[in-house]
Symmetry: C2
Subunit: 231 residues, 2 copies
C-alpha cells in the first residue's frame, strides 16, 4: 500500500517533468498527451489516470511551483536571531536553489500564464506577490538597520528575484558549476550589491574606532620606513 | 512620398505593438488577425498588407528585438577610452533602458521561442549569445584590471542580464519611477555587486595615501573634542 503510494507519486512527478520538457520544446498547443505518454514509455490511459488533460497538467504544475516558492521564501525569513544580511543570504540561497534544482518546471510555470484559467491565474499572482513581499521586507529591514545602503526595496527585490529566476533559462545541470555553487555566487553578488561597502566608514562617527584605526595605520607606516633612512 | 513612408512605418510598428499585447494576454494560439486589426480600428486587409500571418508578425518582432539588443550592447562597449567600471555602467544603462522602453515587445520576443521556425530560432540564439559575450568581455577585463572582484564572468554576466531582462515583467510605465531612473538604480546595484568594495584598502600599500587619510581623520577627531573639555 505504502509502496504503491510512493510509486504513484513518482509517476505523477515523472509526468509533470516529461510534460514540462515538451511544453518548453513544442509549446502547449503543439504537445499531445500521446507525446507525454510516449516520452515515458507508458500509455495515454496511464496519464489520464492522474490528469484530465494537458491544461490540467499545466495548472497543477504552475500552482505547485508558485506555492512552493512562497513556502520556501517564507521559511527562509523565519529565523528570529538573524540580522538582515544573514537573512537575505538565506533567502537568496534557498530561493535560487529552488529555481536551479528544477529549471524546466520553473520555466514552464513562468511562461504559460496565459493558458491558465482566471481563477488559477489569480492564485499564482498571489503566491508570486508573497515571494516579492518576503524579499522586500528583508531589504527594508536592512536599510533601516543601516546594514544596507539607501536602496529602493521594491526595485532591489525585483532585481534579486530577476537574477534567481533568470537562472532557470541559462543553468545547465552537469555544467561548469553545481546548482549549490551558482546559488553561492548569486548570494555573494547580491550581498555586495546591497550592503554598505565600507563598515569602517559607518564607524566613522565613533572616535575610539578612529583612534584604533590610526594606531594600526601608524604601525603599518613604521614598517614602511627603511632601516637606514637617508638622513 | 516621404510622408507615406513614415505613415507606413508607424502603422507597421503599431501592428507589432498591438499584436504583442494580444500575444501576452491570449497567447499566440488564442490571437486572431481580426483581434489585432480590431485593436487598432483597421481592417484585416490592412494587417495582411504588412504581414503574411501572425507567425510572420512574431518572427519579425523577435528578430527585430534580439538584433537590436545585440547592436545596443555592441555599441555600448565600443568606447576605447573607458575603464571597465565606466564601460559596464554604459552597458547596463543602455541594455536595461532598451528593455524598459519596450517591456511588452521584449516579453513576447522572450516567451514565444517555441513558435519560431528552426532557422529563425538559431538566428535569435546567435544574437542573444552576442549580448552575453559583450557583458562577459567587459567583466573579464575588469577582473583582470583589478577593478572588479574575483567573480566568475559567465555567472555574473547571466545575473546582470537576468536583472535587466526581468524588468520587462515587473516595470509599469507611469509608475513610481521612470524607465531612466530604474536603469540608474540597476546600474548602481550592478556596480556595487562587481567592483572591489574598498578602494582605500587597495591603496593601503601606498604610504602617502595613508598619511593623507590620517590627516583627514585627525581633523575629524579634533572636531569631536568638546569646546570645554572636563580637565
Amino acid at each position: 500500500m505504502a509502496n504503491t503510494k510512493i510509486k504513484n507519486e513518482a509517476l505523477r512527478s515523472s509526468i509533470l517533468e516529461a510534460a514540462s520538457n515538451l511544453f518548453i520544446e513544442k509549446g502547449l498547443a503543439g504537445t499531445k498527451i500521446q507525446d507525454i505518454a510516449g516520452a515515458l514509455g507508458i500509455t495515454r490511459t496511464n496519464v489520464y489516470y492522474y490528469y484530465k488533460n494537458k491544461e490540467d497538467i499545466l495548472e497543477k504544475l504552475t500552482l505547485d511551483v508558485t506555492n512552493l516558492a512562497k513556502e520556501v521564501t517564507t521559511a527562509a525569513i523565519g529565523a528570529k536571531d538573524q540580522d538582515p544580511p544573514a537573512m537575505l543570504r538565506s533567502l537568496v540561497i534557498m530561493y535560487s536553489s529552488f529555481v536551479l534544482k528544477q529549471p524546466i518546471l520553473f520555466r514552464v510555470s513562468e511562461r504559460n500564464e496565459q493558458n491558465l484559467k482566471a481563477k488559477d491565474r489569480s492564485k499564482v499572482t498571489r503566491a508570486r506577490r508573497s515571494v516579492l513581499d518576503n524579499f522586500r521586507a528583508v531589504i527594508e529591514r536592512g536599510v533601516v538597520s543601516g546594514h544596507f545602503r539607501g536602496i529602493d526595496p521594491g526595485v532591489t527585490a525585483f532585481s534579486i528575484i530577476g537574477i534567481c529566476n533568470w537562472s532557470a533559462w541559462w543553468f545547465r545541470p552537469g555544467g561548469k558549476y553545481k546548482a549549490q555553487e551558482v546559488a553561492e555566487q548569486i548570494a555573494d553578488l547580491v550581498a555586495h550589491a546591497v550592503e554598505q561597502p565600507d563598515r569602517q566608514l559607518r564607524a566613522r562617527n565613533n572616535g575610539r574606532e578612529i583612534v584604533k584605526r590610526i594606531r594600526g595605520e601608524l604601525e603599518y607606516l613604521e614598517n614602511l620606513i627603511p632601516e637606514r633612512p637617508g638622513r
